[in-house]
């Protein structure tokens, strides 16, 4: 069956909206995605029919909601092809997942002079937690450079790794450049030096199939809200042995085994890492998002989005005076650009009034902006419901911007 984007759009109530009299053209999907009716209904049902505290109750509602929650864990496991169910930890988002690991990994393994490697294209969520930890532990943060096309300089990775390197943390797909990093090449390099690897999949899990077993990453993190699910829910995947060895990053209810004032022993993973009342409604909503994505199929979604990318790249380039940031051969459906020397904020404000929602600014990647010598740019990022017609509207809006600021 072929992918019918017009039918898909009907699943998203928000897309029927008009903005300043124009149909909404939502091209800010790398920031957050819209929710299909199935996710909305699931969250709704959860709050209307099964809400109750998970794990701890022996009563009926508690039983049901716990089962729904644990079923979602299973869905996540299957979605990313993890070997074990207990390798899936629910967090409140990518940022929490990275912070959690940065803390626990830091406590357990990092001492003065040790090194963490990230890349020049990371989102702040994969920079700042490591900086904070390095500062606490007197460790060193090293950075893999990128080319002008926005590709990692793979040859440099081997050179950056020393006997002091403890972890490599990189993004799977850049939220600005769209670059799909060759993790299948990078991870073996790191592993050859016994360096574990964290993959920030915030921008990949909604676009391309993930198989953590094949990929062989040690950690993988992502957010629900960027994959058509609710806010406040995210995932931390970690190989079994890490979850066993690492200390918990938060303390509280549920994550404990025995608590005395003198000493506390912890529960088994994943519960060891899920302190307090988790966002179980959000998690169950995330389960619905996974079901939704699976029902469309990531292959079809990926193909559709790739077509949009090619179409958009062609059309936008044709407009002239456009500089695109990120021209990697393997690219996800994100286009960051500047129009002549027009300030991105000026452009964004005009486009907004034409119903086109794009992001302007640094996209939480200031070092990357600095790498390209710019203060910020405009980013159009596509999702499974975007159409060619919307790209035409985007181009009209760019044209209008050019006219106004000429």
């Amino acid at each position: 069956m072929s992918y019918n984007v017009y039918k898909v759009r009907e699943d998203f109530p928000i897309l029927k909206q008009t903005v300043y009299g124009h149909p909404l053209v939502y091209l800010d999907n790398a920031a957050t995605t819209q929710k299909p009716q199935h996710v909305i209904d699931t969250v709704n049902k959860c709050m209307s029919a099964s809400n109750s505290s998970i794990h701890r109750g022996v009563h009926y509602l508690s039983e049901i909601i716990t089962e729904e929650y644990e079923n979602t864990r299973k869905k996540v496991q299957e979605f990313i092809h993890a070997r074990h169910l207990h390798e899936i930890v629910f967090t409140s988002g990518t940022t929490s997942s990275v912070n959690g690991i940065a803390f626990s990994f830091g406590e357990r393994y990092i001492g003065p002079g040790d090194e963490i490697i990230i890349s020049a294209m990371e989102h702040h969520a994969n920079i700042v937690p490591w900086q904070m930890m390095c500062q606490r532990k007197n460790a060193v943060l090293k950075v893999i450079p990128i080319t002008d096309e926005g590709e990692l300089v793979i040859e440099d990775i081997g050179k950056l790794i020393t006997r002091k390197t403890r972890l490599l943390s990189i993004t799977h797909i850049s939220n600005v450049l769209g670059t799909i990093n060759p993790v299948e090449k990078i991870i073996p390099i790191a592993h050859r030096h016994n360096v574990p690897v964290l993959i920030d999949a915030a921008q990949s899990v909604q676009h391309i199939p993930i198989d953590v077993e094949k990929m062989d990453c040690d950690f993988l993190v992502f957010s629900g809200h960027k994959m058509y699910g609710p806010t406040g829910i995210g995932v931390l995947y970690a190989k079994e042995r890490w979850l066993e060895e690492l200390p918990p990053f938060q303390g509280g209810g549920e994550m404990i085994d025995i608590v005395t004032f003198e000493k506390t022993t912890y529960n088994q993973p994943p519960l060891k890492f899920e302190a307090g009342t988790t966002n179980f409604i959000g998690a169950i909503g995330l389960g619905a998002a996974i079901d939704y994505i699976s029902s469309l199929g990531l292959d079809g979604i990926g193909k559709h989005e790739h077509e949009l990318l090619e179409y958009a790249t062609g059309k936008i380039s044709e407009l002239g005076e456009i500089k695109i940031y990120g021209t990697s051969k393997k690219k996800s459906a994100v286009i960051s650009f500047l129009i002549g020397n027009i300030h991105q904020l000026d452009a964004g404000m005009i486009m907004d009034k034409m119903g086109v929602a794009v992001r302007t600014g640094t996209h939480c990647a200031q070092p990357l902006m600095r790498r390209f010598g710019i203060e910020g740019n405009i980013r159009a990022s596509f999702g499974l419901y975007n159409t060619r017609e919307e790209i035409d509207v985007l181009c009209t809006a760019i044209q209008k911007v050019k006219e106004m600021f000429r």
């Binding site: 998970i54 039983e63 089962e67």
Partner: protein, 142 residues
């Protein structure tokens, strides 16, 4: 002696007569008295299985090719369910225990009591029973 599935079917039959949950639970309370109790000397932390809601103690003995389980719990309904599990799994060869498919639990409506999310220790106990079976099997095969 009946085989493992014959016993399961027998239990399912027994439970069929119960009209409501309270009858079922009354029967489980009754059954709790039939539980082959663990020797008090084993009722210690080496044999405990900690659920967060109730505690279970389990011992496995090996006798003439068969494993014999004895147990106890501080909660009575838990004890009744253990009595059923032991009725099905005790005095059997390790292989039978390892390969057992305990469909009776679902059939009599006690599935929730053995769900991974129930913290009564029963699922952990069942795992422990199979582990004992694997251990004895390895030991006496070798």
């Amino acid at each position: 002696m009946k085989n493992l599935n014959e016993i399961q079917d027998e239990i399912i039959k027994e439970f069929e007569v119960f009209g409501d949950w309270m009858d079922k639970y009354n029967y489980l309370i009754e059954l709790s008295n039939d539980l082959p109790l663990i020797d008090p000397k084993f009722k210690n932390n080496d044999y405990i299985i900690n659920g967060c809601q109730s505690r279970v103690w389990l011992h496995a003995g090996y006798d003439g090719g068969n494993i014999r389980f004895t147990a106890d719990s501080d909660a009575i309904i838990t004890k009744g369910i253990i009595a059923l599990l032991i009725r099905v799994l005790s005095d059997r060869k390790p292989e039978e225990i390892i390969n057992a498919d305990l469909y009776f639990i679902d059939a009599i409506g006690l599935r929730e009591n053995l769900s991974p999310t129930r913290s009564n220790g029963l699922l952990a106990m069942l795992k422990q029973m199979k582990l004992y079976a694997i251990a004895f099997s390895a030991k006496y095969k070798a």
